[in-house]
Symmetry: C2
Subunit: 478 residues, 2 copies
């Protein structure tokens, strides 16, 4: 007599439950090789189910080779099944050296949302401000490509990206960012992180030195570390990466910089430093990765031209993303490559990942070429610029003057440099208690005990929230 | 006197052209350090443009540090600029060993579409058949998440994927594929290739052996090769991967298999081989990568349960994708991981790439949980099953009987095994001339001179095209 229990209250069909239980009993030996199963009629009667249910279960077992049906003689567990596998402890596979480095570096990504009181003012950053985005336009552009016969949904896209999007980005970068590039040099990626992952693999040998800013974009640094690179951090000042402080004897393959607006400290790299960095790259035969993560978000005058535009020899790779200027969930970035790296990069991308979704790429291409992007950028600059002014003004009025921050009218957050005797972790905790969310600067520093600093994103808060948030922060800091 | 030429017919604003030209002349030394620029009024007059145009160009040059304005005295090129960079040959960066392997492996991806005569019948494969997809439903589900205040567009998603989608996939896999998994074991990726790229790095040391099928899914093999793995191909037969032929002395870390329907030959792996493969993995402490690329597309009975469902110890990783069952441009795949690999995989994914677009994930989750996916799969099975029957019947009737193919009623293509004296390259060429597109099997073989074979995808062709296509092919083969 078989031990079977069917449950009508679960979503799994009865025949599937029956199949599962019989299968398990065959595999673990309770139903022995060669033994005969009850007839479908008998078993249906015993279980109180329709005969077709038993029949379907048997048919699936036959199709998968657990049992065999001899016409007129019934259904038998097959003879040749290997002995059941012993149940043991779960298998723990060994990780490669790369996997072990990943486990050590860990991941600092924010993966969820905290639940906060309703009047909590969260100076969260690294996100866009959704209310500004022209959803009506976006919806219309997406719908345009959702017609049933459109080939764009049914084929794999090009590895390097959807051609019209590459052309639209090249044109945008020439107009707004002073980048020198042909459309073919623009390759679409699933965000800057993917571009860096491919570049690190293409360019870095284990132990190669990579020059980086400190504090800086530590997500990129984690990647370089996992690839076995030796990070050489230089302390940034109000003018970004201190090129003149590069140790003359250092042999670095790559420098990673944010010239338009140093992340997270703020500050633009002046021309003299830019030219000196290019000269260094030329002398060292090194590459400069220019992460222009928010170069378009400058509020005083036109955005400063990208470093890439000064480079005549192919030493600069330009990295951009739509996360800050459209919305993060879009997951589209791009890299502008010098000719010499174009083919290797596209080949590598073709091997490790196919292209980004064609539909989204087509919609973004139209968003740019039909003028919505320029309009949207102008609007972002107006709105964010105003928020930054309000925040900066409130900070200046309310906070002790020993607290400083970059005057650069750019970006989506302000980093406050605190006096050395402040305890940044305590400030963040106390601020949360006072109803305001601010973020630790230590996350972005490479040394174990960095000078205290906190970060305030302003893009998601309105004027009243900005002022009230600063008041609450001041009550903690003063 | 400055050499400047402005062109009103280009899309670049005049002030931007002027800025570009002045910048270039400063950088290459034609405008010397310390020299005085003409007044805005004078230059505007010379160029015949509005004075505001010259002013804007000067302001940008001032903002970027090329020139400086001394009140009352005019505008001067700054003094401290480093000497101009010598113009040299483009820089050719050295590639890492990984980069050099990429260059050797190259990429075989299809990146574009050929232009073909109107009555050409293309047995292309690896694509879905867009006319079946319920675009109206899809459009409605996407639109649901396009409302302006939706947090889903404005935040980065979770690295492991959108929770409701992970739960929906887990439930689908339990119901349709016999996979044993909790939602937390399901991680969303940008396609199977990304999952393999991460797994290869997590698991493989340089020189580790990887067991693979031959012929097989060579895109995956290119990836293993680039990671420095040693491929050990075993020739498949009508029942897939020949487990009994694994060399007993071989120490392999990983086996890559397609048990539901061997790619590209066709054929399901019977139970005995599946159990033997699990036993091998257990004895070798190896992992089995089960690529279930089209396991849901089986036309005779319910799909065969996945190998993963037989595994009790965490030796099997299950890889799935929506490319074949929804549409390729979606770029969504998933991997079901044993508990021991969950954390390392998610950490690695967090470092090398952020999550997939939240909007698409949310729409796919609803597509599954609201029953559209099950309905769509039933429809696909009906339509594709019919097409396969028609193609198989036509092949049987029209082709020489020395040409064989798998009888397995599954997948989206049929691979024809040709007699040894056939020249497959010539057949593909001749077929194209006869107005029918068929594809070389050699692409999927690992040996230099494989037995001749050709592939015919049937999902994109209607009954009449299938029959006529086979007639044209027969005229070439007979």
């Amino acid at each position: 007599m078989l031990q079977l229990r069917l449950d009508e209250s679960t979503p799994l069909p009865l025949y599937r439950q029956l199949y599962n239980q019989l299968r398990t009993q065959i595999l673990d030996g309770r139903l022995a090789s060669g033994s005969r199963l009850p007839s479908t009629r008998t078993l249906a009667g015993q279980l109180g189910v329709a005969r077709v249910t038993v029949k379907q279960a048997y048919e699936q077992l036959i199709a998968e080779g657990y049992v065999t049906s001899r016409p007129g003689a019934g259904t038998y567990v097959i003879e040749s099944l290997p002995a059941p596998l012993p149940r043991e402890e779960p298998f723990r596979p060994h990780l490669s050296p790369w996997g072990q480095r990943v486990a050590r570096v860990g991941s600092r990504r924010r993966t969820g949302q905290r639940t906060l009181p309703a009047d909590f003012i969260d100076f969260g950053f690294g996100r866009s401000f959704p209310h500004i985005f022209p959803y009506d336009v976006w919806r219309r552009l997406l719908a345009r490509y959702l017609s049933t016969d459109d080939v764009m949904l049914s084929r794999y896209g090009s590895v390097a990206g959807f051609e019209p999007l590459r052309a639209a980005i090249a044109s945008y970068l020439r107009r707004w960012r002073g980048v020198r590039c042909a459309p073919e040099q623009v390759v679409i990626v699933n965000g800057v992180q993917q571009a860096l992952d491919i570049l690190a693999r293409l360019l870095l040998r284990r132990g190669d030195s990579v020059l980086v800013e400190n504090p800086g974009y530590t997500d990129a640094y984690a990647l370089f570390r996992v690839h076995g690179a030796n990070l050489v951090p230089l302390p940034v000042d109000d003018h970004g990466f201190p090129v003149e402080a590069i140790p003359p004897e250092l042999e670095a393959r790559v420098a990673f910089v944010t010239p338009a607006n140093q992340f997270p400290r703020g500050g633009a790299m002046p021309l003299a430093r830019r030219l000196a960095l290019l000269r260094w790259a030329q002398e060292q035969e090194a590459l400069v990765l220019e992460d222009d993560y928010d170069g378009a978000l400058r509020y005083a005058e036109r955005p400063l031209a990208a470093l890439q535009g000064l480079d005549q020899r192919g030493h600069v790779l330009y990295l951009g993303s739509f996360s800050k200027v459209l919305f993060p969930a879009l997951r589209l970035g791009y890299v502008v490559l010098p000719q010499a790296l174009l083919k290797p990069f596209i080949q590598a991308k073709g091997i490790v990942d196919r292209g980004a979704p064609t539909l989204t790429q087509a919609a973004v291409a139209d968003f740019i070429t039909e003028g919505h992007f320029d309009r949207h950028l102008r609007r972002l600059r107006r709105v964010y610029g105003r928020r930054r002014r309000i925040l900066a003004g409130a900070l200046q009025n309310e906070l002790p003057c020993a607290v400083t921050f970059s005057a650069e009218p750019a970006g989506l957050h302000i980093m406050l440099n605190l006096p050395a005797d402040y305890d940044e972790a305590k400030i963040v905790r106390d601020a949360a208690t006072a109803g305001v969310g601010v973020y630790r600067g230590a996350t972005y520093h490479l040394q174990p005990d960095p000078p205290p600093s906190i970060l305030l994103g302003f893009s998601g808060l309105n004027e009243q929230q900005l002022r009230e948030g600063v008041r609450r922060l001041a009550s903690v800091l003063c």
